[in-house]
Symmetry: C2
Subunit: 175 residues, 2 copies
DNA sequence: TAGACGTAGA
DNA sequence: TCTACGTCTA
């Protein structure tokens, strides 16, 4: 693991092109596109604040895209039941959520990786594929009441112009 | 992921040599050496029973080796606290534990992968390395009371003769 | 649907 | 120590 412990990169990652595909989160980690193995939001400390560097819209959450994929609505993190807190709780503006807010304030680019559930060839098994969709910027965020009754953040990101067109756009309905 | 959903292999895996090293569990999965991402015991269904194919002695458990590494004592699985069962429970002779017992009865080979905690070069960070140690056979198993008061299985495996010597032997004290 | 010797980073 | 859009097989 040559890349262990590297600092998160803000913006483009050398050698990674829009449309590049990956099979496992560990691959995103190895090339520095998105370091955490499970966390959907990666960020880096800059001065006194934390700034989001990349997100993974992996599916299964209440995210969705519109307008040919240029706009992505992304749900915040946290509030999930755990061994300690057995019930959903309101998300807080901390960690990844805070880093996305700060990214909005500072107008810094956020790499977006989208997950796609594919049908495996032989068996009818579903497999995940990850695809790099390029740089976005956080435009706005607000709070909504999630399907479990707790308050969750909703971020709106817009894809930066001038990047290579994406292929046939994945349409996420309640991705 | 070309290897998704493959059936576990009993015995040698083509192309994998004793001493081969890996950085992530996902690599063991990809080459078919050990399929589960987290589970320490892999097994395959054979007729009416399940037979262990490989184990990962990753460290952190109460495993240890003796006699220049030819004998490995390996702890069973299960009984850990979860969200449902908040306290340790006695391990049961099922799943992986049962597959190891059946492997003993049928004298089938078990691949052993050992984990080694290494000191990362630059930072003082600990990283995990996995090393294929070859084929073993389950000789015996019994129950002991674990450090948390619950009953756990202890398996004794012996390395099959005639395999390439291992390098300087890792000595696990309470691995 | 749940359980499992995962991983990194805060 | 804990959280986190993991990922498999049974």
């Amino acid at each position: 693991c040559a890349n262990a412990g590297i600092e998160a990169i803000l913006g483009d990652v050398s050698g990674v092109k829009v449309g590049d595909k990956f099979n496992f989160r560990v691959e995103l980690h190895l090339i520095g596109l998105h370091r955490p193995f499970r966390n959907g939001i990666d960020f880096v400390r800059r001065g006194n604040t934390i700034i989001a560097t990349s997100i993974v819209a992996s599916g299964g959450y209440d995210d969705y895209t519109k307008e040919n994929g240029d706009v992505l609505y992304y749900s915040g993190q946290g509030g999930n039941p755990s061994a300690k807190t057995l019930f959903p709780e309101d998300q807080k503006l901390e960690r990844g959520n805070l880093s996305l807010k700060n990214s909005m304030d500072e107008k810094t680019p956020v790499r977006v990786i989208r997950g796609l559930k594919d049908m495996k060839d032989t068996k009818g098994k579903m497999v995940h594929t990850f695809s790099y969709h390029g740089l976005y910027k956080v435009e706005d965020f607000w709070q909504v009441r999630g399907p479990h009754g707790n308050v969750v953040f909703r971020f709106r990101l817009r894809r930066t112009q001038g990047q290579p067109r994406l292929g046939p756009c994945l349409t996420y309905h309640q991705l």
